[in-house]
Every structure is written in C-alpha cells, then in structure tokens.
Symmetry: C2
DNA sequence: ATCTTCATTGCATTCGTATGCAAATATGTA
DNA sequence: TACATATTTGCATACGAATGCAATGAAGAT
C-alpha cells in the first residue's frame, strides 16, 4: 500500500546532477549537443532517481505522440491477431506505440471515432470494414495519415495495402476448373467490402473465361455461424456444388465442418473447398485448406512504410500498395494434374 | 496532398465563442460550472471549427493518461485475442484506452518495459508469462496498479485474476478417473508459470487421492509445435497413455491432431484428452474438446474492476481474485456414467 | 596576447488544457 | 431597495519536456 503518484521530472534530475533542465532534456534527445561529462552526470543522476522521460509531455511540445491508432473491429478471425502482433512488433522497433481500438462489434462506433481523434495519434491503421469512411475523411482533414489494411477505397486521401484480390479470385477459378469440377459456388463475406467484391469479381471473371456462367452465391458475412448457415443451404440443394470458393479461411473452416459433420461429405472427394488468407488453422492437419495466401509480413511492412514516410514528410498522400500472393495447394480441394509447383516446401498453383 | 498538422485549440474556440479559454475547458469537463448559454455558444463554436479536446494536453495537467498498458507476449493462443477484445471494450466503456504491447516473442523485452513506463499508463494489465516480475516491481514503486491476468505471484504489490487452477486440475483428475482410465499423462505448459504449476499440482493431487501415483509428464511450452512433439513422445511409448490432461486447449489441439493424423488413434476410444480454457476451436465439430472453461467475461470484468478501483483511490494494493469455473464435457474424453449435469445447453462435470 | 570559431550551456518560452482564486453577475430574501 | 447567497466567469498559473537564442567557455590561429 503506497501512493507516490508523482514522478521524477527532468528538473529533479537536473538539480541532482547540478545542471540545467535543458541539459537533461538534451541528454535524452538523440543528436542534441551535450558534452560527454555532462551526459555522464545526467545519466548517473537519472539512474539514481529512476528517472524516465515523460512521453506525454514530450508529445505535447513536439506535436508527435509516437502512437499509431489501430482499429480492428473484431479479432475472431485468426488473421487479425497475427497482423496485430507483427504490426506492434514493427512499430515498436521504430519507437512507435499501438493504441488499440477493438471490440465494438455490436456497439456504436462513434465513441471510438472521437477517441481516435482526441489521442493525437500520428497515424491510423484501419483494419475494420465499418467506419472506414467516416474516420478517413476526418483524419485527412486533420492531416493524419491513414492506411487501410486488407481493404481499399477510392478516397483520394487514404492509402491502402491489399493483395491482388481480383487476380486471386481469377486464379482460384482457374485452379478449380483445372481440377475438373462441375457446379461452382461462392460463399461471400460482407457484401460491400472491397475485398469481398474484388475476390468475387475475379472468381466470376475467371469462371466465365472458361465458359462457366452459373455460380451459386451465398452470403457468409465473414462470420462462422453465417457461413455455416450458408453451407447448409448449399449442401441442401438438389444439385450440390462440388467446388466452393469461400471468401476467407475463417468461414471456410465453418463450411468444411458443416460438410463433414452435418452432411457426411468427404473433402475433397465430394466437394472441393478453397479459402483465402492462409491463417494458422488452414495448416492444421484436420483442415489442410487450399488457400490464397496473404503474405502477412509483407503487408504489414508495406503499411508501416507508408505510415512512416507520410509522418516523416508531414504530408498525407494516397498510396495503394498491392502485394503479390500465391495459391497454396493443400488437401481441401481436388488437385489438377498440371500447373502445380513446389516452392520452399509448399505446393503452389502456377496455372 | 495537404499538411495542416496544427489543430484547433480551446483558445481558438474561446475566441470564436467570445468567452475565455477556461469556459471552453469547463464545457468539456463533466461537472464543471458553466451557464447553459455559455455552453451553447462554446459547443457551437467547437462544432464550427471541428474542435476536439487534446487528450495529451489533458493528461499532462491531470496526471492521468486514461490509458491502460496491456502486455501480451503473443496472440497465437486464441484465448488471448478474445481477452483483448472484451478488455478493450470494457475499458472503452469507462473512457479508457488500450496501449498494447505485443509481438516480442523472441526479441528482448527490455524496450517494452521502458516504453510502458514512459507512456504514463494509469494501470497495467499483464497477460504475459515473461517479464512480469521486472515490471511489477518498477510499477509498484511508481504507484501504478497492476493486475496479472491468468497468472499470479506472491508479490505484495500486484493483483491477479485467475480461475482456481488447482481445483481445476483436481476436477479433471476426478473426471478422468471416473471415466475409468488406466495410464495418465500431463502435457505441461511453461514450467514456471503459476498457472501451469497449479493445474499440474491439482491434477497430481487428484490422481493421488484415487491411488494413482504414476503420471507421465511431458513439456509442451504452451506452443503447438512443442505440444505436438510432446504428443509424439507420448504416443510412441510402449504403454501408451489413455488419459491426457493438456494444460491448455491451444496445445490440446496439437495433441489431438498428432493422435489422429500421425498415430491413427480414435478420440476418445483410444485416448481421452482434456484441455483448459475452452477457446473457440474447442467447440468446433472436429475437436469438441472437454475443457475446463475459463469465464473470459468474468475474468476481464474482475480485472477492470481491480484496476479502476485502485486508480480512483490512488493507492496500489494487492487483490487476488479467483473466479469459479467448470469442466465442460464434450467428446474428446470418455464420459463417466455419473456426475454429469446439463446446464444451459452444455454438459458439465459435477463430480 | 588577441581574435575567431565552434561546441556547450542556461534562460525563457512554448505546447494545450485544467483549476484555485477572486471578481462579477444572477438569484433569492427581508 | 438593500443585502446575503449562489452561480458563473476570467485571470493566472501549472503540468514536464523541447528548443531558439544568446552567453559562456574552450580550442585554435595568428
């Protein structure tokens, strides 16, 4: 039981070291002019007192909080915790912190919006389908760089990092056609998300190119229960599809489980399933999902680069980075007899 | 392309509204004395200018950042993203933000430690096995309340929230014995984590009570690959165990996969597996893990309460909250013919 | 010894908001 | 109307660190 609650300030250190507060500040500022002897005295005093620079006070005067706002509506889809982890890691390497906004699935997201603006974040990493539009306008006006992660928009003042979702959809179509399927289905994510739209467009384009014009489309809302429902509808049809592209792995898992445990189907003998993201469970022996891999590290690096550049140059611009990705072939879909290639231990579809 | 980068301040608003800066501040401070008419003028001016209070500046003067530092070494175990999501949600409801520290699996955690201290967090939520000891001492000295989540310690100045891990271990022992097993094994987490230690102790106690003194112990390090290795060792023994308690579900999944796909074992016919946490995948049809459920919401609520109380009272104390939990019975372990009870749609072991 | 040059240092101010205090105004009472 | 009381307001200052500017001192050049 104690309650000091008032910290050691640079002035305290200065007094003990017998120098001015400025000298203390300069000691903790890289590139500032301090004599070696002064620095030594300051560091000693600082150590004795247990001094740490107050990041809040620094932020006020420098007008830089060194915090990046990270907005992720939910973390249930395993893809996002992974993103968060590497993102935090990369940012911390550069001396930036993560101010996290998440868990507002159902609640109103207005407060989030207010908080983001009040905390003077230096940049914003948006990985949430909702509220992208509102925030981006306001931030652009405030000169705060934004990067949309795994989604994009036409807005002139936000940047984005995605994989080539449209090409991904196309390649998946090619792959499934090469596997010799007959009835194709698509389990969609949230309809108005750019990512879902592009994957769907690409998939349809790809199938049409092969003369396939009938695609059964069901909505999975990027959620497991919704995807499971969608799967039930699919498998209850008289003409059951034998090739299903599910807009992400998170939903694909639900679809596979319904296929196996509710309809007794064998995968891939009875039905082929292809996912997107290549999340952890996709690699588990029970799933082995053939999935379009989103290279997480590269995507995060690209995002961080965009943010840092704009912060350093103090100007907001609109950069859209599209990362190359591959279709990793595992066991959840029938394999074509050509176009497969082994690349560092993984089988890849090269068409 | 633009670069304003200088915000609207309370003084700007004051000028436009024809009042003092104090009046503006008071308008945005709950409970402060402002005449309705003044407030109206201020709010109007604020809206016109797009003013938002600067949380950084406020923190400096109030000596409260309204940020809680959250330290989670890694998010791979699905339990933690769930915790993070509800925690962020609860904190935001109370006007607190989450400053997240994660992704330092391999890297040195010293910098993390420095950052936490510099950012003047009002409290600290520690869900990381490592670095708990170092941080807790320093924070206690600085008067910052800490709560250890899902781990505990004897330190007089930190609080903790856990389930009754020891009793959990005991109940699992009872359950497995009631199921009529013969050879028992334990797949451990990180050896020196309090959580693992308690679960193990309870499990051994429970078995001994039934006269079982031989338990095969292998180390899983709370990681899937390590747990898979551990499982391989277990199943390669001449006398294969038929009852395994795995210290958490994350590892249990790996153990089950190895059992099924590498050793062709049937679960629970050939081997019973019990996990801990009751994470999302434990409920997937392919796993259906019998697992000791950690009530996430209750644990988070308890943690938040502890932190908020101590922040409000401005004193650090040591509170250890132990939450009641239950063994949820599913299909990964042979079921006893007694002691089971259905409770809101789930089967629970009541011994 | 005198003058330049350059590195260090301290002073004073600044960032944007909150708040104690005293002044000013409004409200109620006799 | 005069006075007491309650409410509202602005002034001035504080929070902790960074930084432009001028002063100081040391080193080097002549």
């Amino acid at each position: 039981m104690k309650s000091p609650r008032q910290g050691i300030t640079s002035t305290d250190v200065a007094r003990r070291a017998g120098v001015s507060q400025s000298a203390v500040s300069r000691t903790f500022t890289v590139g500032a002019s301090v004599a070696p002897e002064t620095r030594r005295k300051v560091l000693e005093a600082a150590r004795d007192l247990g001094y740490r620079p107050n990041a809040i006070a620094r932020s006020l005067i420098t007008n830089r909080s060194r915090m990046i706002g990270v907005v992720m509506a939910y973390l249930e889809n395993q893809f996002y915790p992974g993103v968060l982890e590497t993102l935090a890691s990369r940012l911390q390497e550069r001396g930036y912190q993560v101010l996290l906004f998440t868990g507002f699935k159902d609640r109103n997201s207005d407060p989030v919006y207010e908080q983001v603006m009040q905390y003077q974040v230096d940049g914003l990493f948006l990985a949430s389908t909702t509220l992208s539009s509102g925030l981006s306008g306001e931030c652009a006006a405030a000169g705060i760089p934004i990067v949309l992660f795994n989604r994009t928009t036409e807005s002139a003042q936000t940047s984005s990092v995605t994989t080539n979702n449209r090409e991904g959809g196309r390649k998946i179509a090619d792959f499934l056609v090469a596997g010799g399927h007959e009835r194709y289905a698509f389990v969609a994510g949230v309809a108005d998300s750019s990512t879902n739209r592009d994957r769907e467009t690409g998939f349809c384009e790809g199938l049409e190119k092969h003369g396939i014009n009938e695609i059964i489309r069901v909505a999975g809302q990027y959620s497991m229960p919704a995807a499971a429902d969608a799967a039930r509808r699919l498998f209850s049809r008289s003409e059951r599809p034998d090739a299903i592209f599910v807009a992400n792995d998170h939903m694909a898992i639900a679809v596979m489980d319904v296929a196996r445990y509710e309809f007794g189907l064998n995968i891939p003998e009875d039905v082929s399933i292809v996912g997107y993201d290549d999340v952890g469970p996709a690699r588990w022996p029970g799933y082995q999902i053939t999935s379009y891999s989103q290279p997480l590290d590269a995507m995060v690096d690209a995002s961080v680069t965009i943010l840092m550049d704009q912060i350093d140059q103090n100007k907001v611009s609109s950069i859209h980075t599209v990362i190359d990705a591959e279709l990793i072939v595992r066991e959840s879909a029938r394999k074509p007899d050509h176009g497969l290639q082994s690349r560092n231990g993984q089988l890849v579809w090269t068409g």
